[in-house]
C-alpha cells in the first residue's frame, strides 16, 4: 500500500469485477505491444518519508545560503526581507492546492486576492490594467513587445543595452521565432544613449524598451525617452523594480504605455531563481491586447460583489491560434505572495524599504570608493550600483566568499567594455556592520 493511493486489494477486485475484467492489465490492452514498457524505470526509490527528509536535508546541506553569508549580489534577484505572514498565508491548502479559478463560485478567494494584486500593481506602476501575472520579469518583458507590435502594426522594437542581459536574451529568442526584429541601442554613463536611440528610431519602430532602474541600478530618464518614442508613434515599454516605485515616479505618470517587471522582490524568496512572478501592466487602450489572465469585478444573481476571469476572448482556450498569447498557467501563488507582501508593507512600509535600500546602497558605494574602487557611472542609482574593481571581479569574489560575503555580479560576461565592472546590490537587510566589513574586506583584497 502507498500512503497517497487509497486502493486496497478488495477495492481493486470490486472495481475490476464491476468492469468485468480479470486484471487491471486488460485496461492497457489498447497500447500497441511494440510501445509497451517492458520492465521497470531505472530510477531510485521508493523512500519512506523519514528517509526522504534525511536525503533532502543532506542535499540542501550542500548549498551555502543567504542566512550563512551576507549577500551583496542582486542582478535581478534580491535578498529583501520576507515577513512571516506571507508563507503562512501561501501555505494554506485552500490557496495552494486549488487550480486556476475556472469555477468562480468556489474560487472567490483566489479571484479576489488576484484582483487586489492587480489593483496594487496598477497603483505602483500608475497604469490602468495589470494581468494576473506572467512567468517572470524576462518573459513579461518579451511578451510586451508583441503587444506593441500588434497595437502599432509594426514589426521591430528597439531595446536598450542597459536592460538585464537575460531579459534581452529571452526577448531575442521570443522575437526571432515570432518574426519580430530587435535592435539594441547603447548607453552612456550608465544611462540610455539618447543620440544612439534617436539615430535608430523611426516610423517602423513598434516600441522602445528600457529598464528603470536599469541593470546597472541607474535610474533612466523615462519621461524623455517616452516623449521621443511617442514622437515616432512607437510605444514606451519599461521594466521596473517594484520596490523602487515606492519612491520613484510611477512609469505611467512618465508616459510609459506598458510596464513590466520582476516581482520576486515582493515577498518571494530567491529560491535559486524561481518560482517568482512577472508583472505586466498597461494603459486602458491596450486592455484587450493583454496576454494572460485578468480578474474583473462583477455581481452575482443576488446582487453581491464577486470576481471572475474576464476578457477571456483574448485567451488561448477560446481564441486558440489567434490568442494574444499562449500563456495558460501563470505564477498565481507567487503573485498572491506579492499581494500579501504589499498589504503587509503597505503605503508607509514599502517607502521605508525603498529608502533603506537607497541610503544603504549609497553608503556602501561611498565606503567602497574610499577603499579604492571607482564609481563607474555618475548617474543617479536606486539600490544597485557599479564600481570598477582594481582586480578581476571573479578573483575578488572568491576571496570575499571565504570571509563570509557573497560579492557582487561580475559584469565582464555581458559587458566586456566595462573593464572589471562589479555590480553591487544593497537591500534593507544589510546592516552597517556588514557593509563596513564588506567594504574593508574588499579593500583589503585589492590593496
Amino acid at each position: 500500500m502507498w500512503s497517497y493511493i487509497p486502493h486496497t486489494r478488495e477495492d481493486k477486485e470490486k472495481m475490476c469485477k464491476a468492469l468485468g475484467i480479470a486484471s487491471i492489465d486488460e485496461l492497457f490492452d489498447d497500447i500497441p505491444k511494440k510501445v509497451r514498457m517492458k520492465g521497470d524505470y531505472d530510477i531510485p526509490g521508493p523512500m519512506t518519508e523519514d528517509e526522504l527528509i534525511v536525503h533532502m536535508q543532506e542535499l540542501a546541506g550542500k548549498n551555502s545560503h543567504l542566512d550563512s553569508h551576507a549577500c551583496f549580489l542582486g542582478a535581478g534577484v534580491y535578498d529583501h526581507f520576507v515577513p512571516s505572514v506571507i508563507d503562512a498565508m501561501a501555505s494554506r491548502g485552500e490557496f495552494y492546492t486549488a487550480y486556476t479559478p475556472y469555477q468562480p463560485e468556489i474560487s472567490q478567494g483566489t479571484l479576489q486576492a488576484i484582483f487586489e494584486y492587480q489593483s496594487m500593481i496598477c497603483e505602483l506602476t500608475g497604469m490602468y490594467v495589470s494581468n494576473a501575472s506572467m512567468y517572470d520579469g524576462a518573459s513579461s518583458f518579451a511578451e510586451s513587445a508583441f503587444m506593441a507590435c500588434v497595437a502599432t502594426k509594426r514589426e521591430k522594437v528597439l531595446c536598450s543595452r542597459s536592460v538585464n542581459p537575460e531579459y534581452r536574451m529571452v526577448l531575442k529568442t521570443y522575437a526571432h521565432f515570432r518574426g519580430v526584429q530587435v535592435e539594441e541601442f547603447g548607453y552612456k554613463d550608465g544611462q540610455v544613449d539618447v543620440d544612439d536611440l534617436k539615430s535608430k528610431l523611426n516610423e517602423e519602430i513598434a516600441a522602445v524598451m528600457v529598464q528603470s532602474p536599469n541593470f546597472f541600478g541607474v535610474i533612466e530618464d523615462v519621461a524623455s525617452i517616452a516623449e521621443l518614442a511617442h514622437s515616432k508613434g512607437a510605444l514606451l515599454i519599461t521594466s521596473a523594480d517594484p520596490i523602487s516605485l515606492a519612491i520613484l515616479e510611477a512609469p505611467g505618470k512618465l508616459g510609459a504605455d506598458i510596464v513590466t517587471g520582476e516581482g520576486q522582490a515582493l515577498g518571494n524568496q530567491p529560491s535559486f531563481g524561481g518560482p517568482h512572478f512577472g508583472f505586466l501592466a498597461a494603459t486602458e487602450k491596450l486592455l484587450r491586447r493583454m496576454p494572460g489572465r485578468i480578474v474583473g469585478q462583477t455581481v452575482d444573481t443576488e446582487g453581491r460583489r464577486g470576481f471572475v476571469l474576464t476578457l477571456q476572448a483574448r485567451e488561448q482556450h477560446i481564441r486558440r491560434e489567434r490568442a494574444t498569447s499562449n500563456i495558460c498557467t501563470n505564477q498565481s501563488l507567487c503573485a498572491l505572495m506579492g499581494a500579501v507582501y504589499m498589504a503587509t508593507m503597505g503605503k508607509e512600509g514599502l517607502k521605508e524599504v525603498a529608502k533603506l535600500c537607497y541610503n544603504k546602497s549609497h553608503y556602501a558605494m561611498e565606503k567602497l570608493v574610499k577603499e579604492g574602487f571607482k564609481r563607474a557611472f555618475d548617474a543617479p542609482f536606486f539600490k544597485e550600483f557599479v564600481v570598477i574593481s582594481p582586480k578581476p571581479v571573479n578573483e575578488l569574489n572568491e576571496k570575499l566568499l571565504k570571509q563570509g560575503f557573497i560579492g557582487g555580479y561580475d559584469l565582464s560576461k555581458h559587458y566586456p567594455e566595462i573593464d572589471k565592472g562589479w555590480l553591487i546590490a544593497v537591500t534593507e537587510r544589510r546592516t552597517k556592520d556588514e557593509i563596513d566589513g564588506f567594504a574593508s574586506a574588499a579593500g583589503g583584497e585589492v590593496r
Partner: protein, 485 residues
Amino acid sequence: MKKPVELIFELSKPGRKAYSLPACDVPEASEKIPEKFARKADARLPEVFEVDVVRHFTRLSQLNYAVDIGFYPLGSCTMKYNPKVNEVVSRLPGFLRIHPYQPEEMVQGALKLIYDLEKMLCEITGMERATLQPAAGAHGELTGLMIIKTALEHRGEGHRNKIIIPDSAHGTNPASASMVGYEVVEVKSDERGNVDVEDLKKLMSDEVAGIMLTNPNTLGLFEERIDEISKIIHDAGGLLYYDGANLNANLGKARPGDMGFDVVHLNLHKTFSTPHGGGGPGSGPIAVTKELVPFLPAPLVEYDGNRYYLNYDRPSSIGRVRSFYGNFNVMIKAYAYILTMGPEGLREVAECSVLSANYLMKRLRDYFDLPYDRWCKHEFVISGNRQKKSKGVTTLDMVKRLIDYGFHPPTVYFPLIVPEAMMVEPTETESLETLDAFAESLIAIAKEAEENPQLVKESPKTTPVTRLDEVTAAKRPIVKWEFES
C-alpha cells in the same frame, strides 16, 4: 452592494502598520533622488495591521475549493494530492535561500538535484536530455516548438511552416504554434476518438514541420495507431511533439520516446504532484531525442565526475526562454515525489488512475451520453446532450449543481468535438467511497434535470456567491479597485 469579504483597501486606516523594519543605521545619503525622478504622490497601498492581513487572507482562502478540501476531477489537469512532505523539504533554507548567481561551488546540492531530476525525467520519457527551464506546460510547448523549428532549419528544411494539431487538442497547442510563426492545420478525429490516420495522410506535404499530440489524448483515449502516425510524420520529414498533460496514465506503462516522439513536455504540476497554486507556479520541462539535444536552451547542468556545473556553451541552442534555470522550488517537489514513489509506485499510479477512471465511467454511462465506448485511460468524456435536449438543462447547469453536492466540477465544454462535454479525471489519490459518492451525486443530478430542471439551472445555492454576471464583467471591465479621489 453586498460583499462576501471586504477588499483589503476597504480595511485601510491611516497610521496602521503590519510590518517591522529596522531604523536606518547609516547616514542619510547626501545624493538625493533628482526631483524629476522622485514620486510625487504616494502609492495608495492599504494601511492595515498584521491581524487584518492574516484574517483577510484566511477568510479569502475559505472561499476557495481545493484538493485539500475534496474531490477535484478536473479533466486533463491531474488534480492529485499534493504531498505535505514535499512542501516541508522544499522550504529548507539550503533550497529557499540561495541566489541563482551564487558561485557553483556554493550550490552543488541544488545543481545535483537538477541534474538527477533531469536524468529521472529522461528515463521516464525515454528521451536523451531535458531542459527544466520552462515555467509551465504552455511555456514548454513554446520551447519545444522552437526546438523543432531550429532543428528543421539545421536539416536545411526551414521552409516547413505547418504544424498538425488534432481537433481535440488543448487551446495552448495552436496558440503556441502561432507564437513561433507556424500555421496550424487541424487533423480530424476518427470514430474511435483517435487521430484519423487517413485524414492525416492527406495533410502530408513537404511543408509539414510536425504534429503535436497528447497521448492518451484529451478524450482520455490511447492513440492506438501511434506507431503508424509516427512513421507517417517521420517519413514525410516532420517531427513529433508530445504534450505531457496526460502522462499520468503512462507511468511505468509506455514511454513517449518508445512511441516515436522527438520532443516531450511534462507538467510537473500534474503528473508529479506539485501543487497548482490556484494557477501556478507550474513547471514544464522539455525532453528531447539525441538529434535535438544541441538545440536545448542554455544552460544545462553537467557533471564532470567531481563537480556539477552550468554549461552555457551551447552554440546551436534556441537561446533562452526565461531567466535562470526554471521554477527550481517546483522541481524539488517533483524530485521528492519521484523518490517517494519509486518505479513500482509510479506504475501503481498509472494503474490505479486508469482503474478509477474506468470504474467511474462505468457507473455513469447509463445516465449520460458516452461518445466513445471503449476503455479509457486516466480520464473520460461524457456528454450532457441528453439532458439538454430533454429539459434544456445544460452541462454547465449540472456541474454547477455538483458544487452543491460538495464536489468540484469536471472540465466542461472541452474537448470541443464533444457537445456538452464533461471531462472527468479522478486521479489515483481518490478512494472508492469518494468515486461512488461522486457517481451517485451526478446520477441524482441527472434525475433532478428531468424532474426539477429549475433547481439545477439555479444552482449553486450553497456557495459564497451564486452565478456571476460574466457578460457585464467583459463589457464594462472593472479590473482594479477604484479609489474615491
